[in-house]
């Protein structure tokens, strides 16, 4: 058969030659490519980051940067895979325990020399503990998210409420809103994490930062009386019907329209509330920080630090660090942070033309100490079980004892 069809043979050889020619031609024109995987894909931050990338390419001819944008939730799954199987040159991620889950498996490269060489230790000093594991720095902090109550100004005016500063005032405001037929607190718990803010803040305000971090590290029990106090106070508000009904039917973002449309009064969340709403509504959304619960406990806040790291398997580590140095410049940090309504992770910057951002910077600076976020501070498996427990508690506050028992069993097993 093959002897007869020499034309087929010639065609096969021709194809092989052509494809190898194409391949080598491709190699000859290859420049340096930098691959970045990021979950910071909200419209504002995506545009800001694209500009930073374009500026970097302009400043470094012969370099091509490929940015792979992913949505936040699915990135949490895919990073587990790509850090091991196909690591990019730079990967954006959360810091704290979320970062340590990967650094203790040696999946990020050591950046301590990079920090020294670029003199970043000083301007980023307060954020370094979040990116350090075993005295080595593994990620560069980019920006931090502040959290608090976002409220609908018109709704408050109509109900005759001013932003509360104590827990009792908050409950009184909620009672007034409920009487007026408005949901006091909107929340979406389908993707689990919005609840963490309530637990974290109540724990910080009642029991203090020390106890909270020890609980995150598995050194305190979930059945401890102090944790029960948190649940009792939270359960009190839940049983009075102050929270969004059927919260687990809504993702965190889907619960925001209730706030904007005046069906709900407040949302304990981050500045994503603003980035998820069109600009013309921003004027109606106000902010106040989580109120004081126990006046004896200092003002601890939840400040979540986001960062970017170089995976251990990255192919272009030097180019990646060059990009990091470029990103770390104050102007780029500010632009990237502003676009996402978060604040840059440098203590030596001020944002002059955005009063909300500047107020958030002051808010962060005023904190006596901070935790990151429930699912960034504690072991990831514990976080999953804990968050499911909170989701169940919000829907069934009378299951408090069973839920705390379950969380404690999991804690004992995970942190043995």
């Amino acid at each position: 058969m093959f002897e007869r069809d020499s034309s087929i043979r010639r065609w096969l050889v021709g194809m092989a030659l052509a494809s190898s020619a194409l391949l080598t031609a491709g190699q000859a024109q290859a420049q340096q490519t930098l691959t970045i995987n990021t979950d910071r894909s909200g419209a504002g931050q995506k545009a800001a980051f694209n500009k930073i990338v374009a500026d970097f390419e302009a400043a470094n001819p012969g370099v091509k940067v490929n940015v792979n944008y992913s949505d936040v939730e699915s990135y949490k799954t895919s990073i587990r895979n790509f850090l091991v199987t196909s690591p990019p040159d730079l990967a954006f991620w959360f810091t704290g325990a979320r970062m340590r889950a990967f650094t203790k498996r040696n999946l990020f490269a050591d950046l301590t020399p990079f920090f020294k060489a670029n003199q970043l230790n000083e301007p980023m000093q307060p954020f370094l503990p979040a990116v350090t594991d075993n005295d080595k720095i593994y990620m560069m902090p980019t920006n931090l998210t502040t959290w608090g109550f976002f409220y609908n100004k018109q709704v408050f005016e109509k109900a005759g409420i001013t932003p509360p500063t104590t827990w009792d005032e908050l409950m009184a405001a909620a009672a007034k809103l409920k009487a007026a037929g408005i949901t006091p607190f909107t929340i979406g718990t389908r993707d689990l994490w919005a609840n963490d803010l309530w637990f974290d803040y109540l724990d910080l305000r009642i029991n203090g930062l020390d106890f909270h971090m020890r609980l995150m590290d598995g050194k305190e029990k979930y059945t401890d009386d102090r944790v029960k106090k948190v649940f009792t106070m939270w359960g009190d508000a839940i049983k009075k019907g102050y929270f969004q009904e059927n919260a687990s039917s809504y993702g965190w973002q889907e619960a925001i329209p209730f706030l904007a449309q005046g069906k709900a009064g407040m949302y304990l969340l981050g500045p994503y509330v603003l980035t998820s709403l069109p600009a013309d509504v921003h004027g109606n959304i106000g902010f106040f920080k989580f109120p004081v619960v126990d006046p004896a406990v200092p003002n601890f806040e939840e400040l979540s630090i986001n960062g970017v790291g170089v995976p251990a398997g990255a192919k272009n580590k030097e180019l990646a660090q060059k990009f990091l140095a470029f990103l770390a410049q104050p102007d780029n940090m500010i632009a990237f942070a502003k676009a996402g309504a978060v604040i840059p992770a440098r203590t030596d910057v001020t944002i002059k033309d955005d009063p909300f951002a500047q107020s958030q910077i002051e808010h962060a600076k005023a904190a006596k100490g901070s935790s990151q976020f429930y699912d960034r501070d504690t072991d990831p498996e514990m976080a999953q079980i804990g968050m499911r427990g909170f989701q169940e508690f919000l829907a069934n506050p009378d299951r408090e004892a069973a839920i705390l028992d379950r969380l404690e069993k999991a804690r004992a097993r995970i942190f043995k």
Partner: protein, 295 residues
Amino acid sequence: MKEFWGRNQAWLTPFLLLLLPAGLFLLVIVSSTVQSIWLSFFDWDGTGPKSWVGWGNYVELFDDPQFWVSLKNNVIWLVLFLLAPVFGLALALFLNQRLPEMRFVKSVFFIPLVLAHVIIGVVFTWFYDPTFGILALAFKALGLQPLAILSDEHLVTFGIIVAALWSQIAFCLVLFLAGLSQIDHELIAAAKMDGASGWRLFRHIVLPQLHSVTFVAAIITVIMSLRNFDMIAVMTQGGPYGSSTVLAYQMYDTTIFSFRAGYGAAIATILFLIMSVYIAWFLWYTLRNEAREQH
């Protein structure tokens, strides 16, 4: 060489042709399955060192209340999914009429089949939304309080099954329409002459001829019910608090989010054992039929 080929062509040709698919099957399916079962005896986080725990993962599994919830949900899926061939057949009988509009109507009914499960899941999530969803609006129009199906731990699995059935019924519909077009019209004409009609015609003449199609539809439906993951992941992420989780989702969740590949592999092995009951029955049934036909 040519002589060897000439003499052995009868068995050599199929052997060579089967080499590639069989090789792929062994490599991708069989070796992965064996590897997973092997993994289930270790405690492994997915990237670090493995440590042997023997039956430890299985013992922990039977103590885990989430496992029993997942298993219960799998059984519910299995039982309710068997409605798909029933509705599929009913629809196929209805659509098997020689009207000119039928072509268009058939293609409308095929649509669920071509949509990705993820899309079906997302759209049904909007449908079930307790404030803005069409279902909620329908309830309000009737003066009833809308039900938050995806938030209710008792109703959530049924809500997701409805979404999955929508697509599975279309699949069975396609199979049965193909089967109905193959039945022997002479037999039907003869039966009608003998006075058979309606249910008796269906039960004694049509249904037996659909035997192999029904079998295929049933087997594939069973496998799809045990496999279903996309809709649960998209609609509820296994929630609320694990009440709609099935074994396939629990396996994904523990491996990816809890970094417990060994535990996840144990769940996968249990799922495989459940499926292999059906696969064994399917093989026995098919081989028995083929043996019969050869006589």
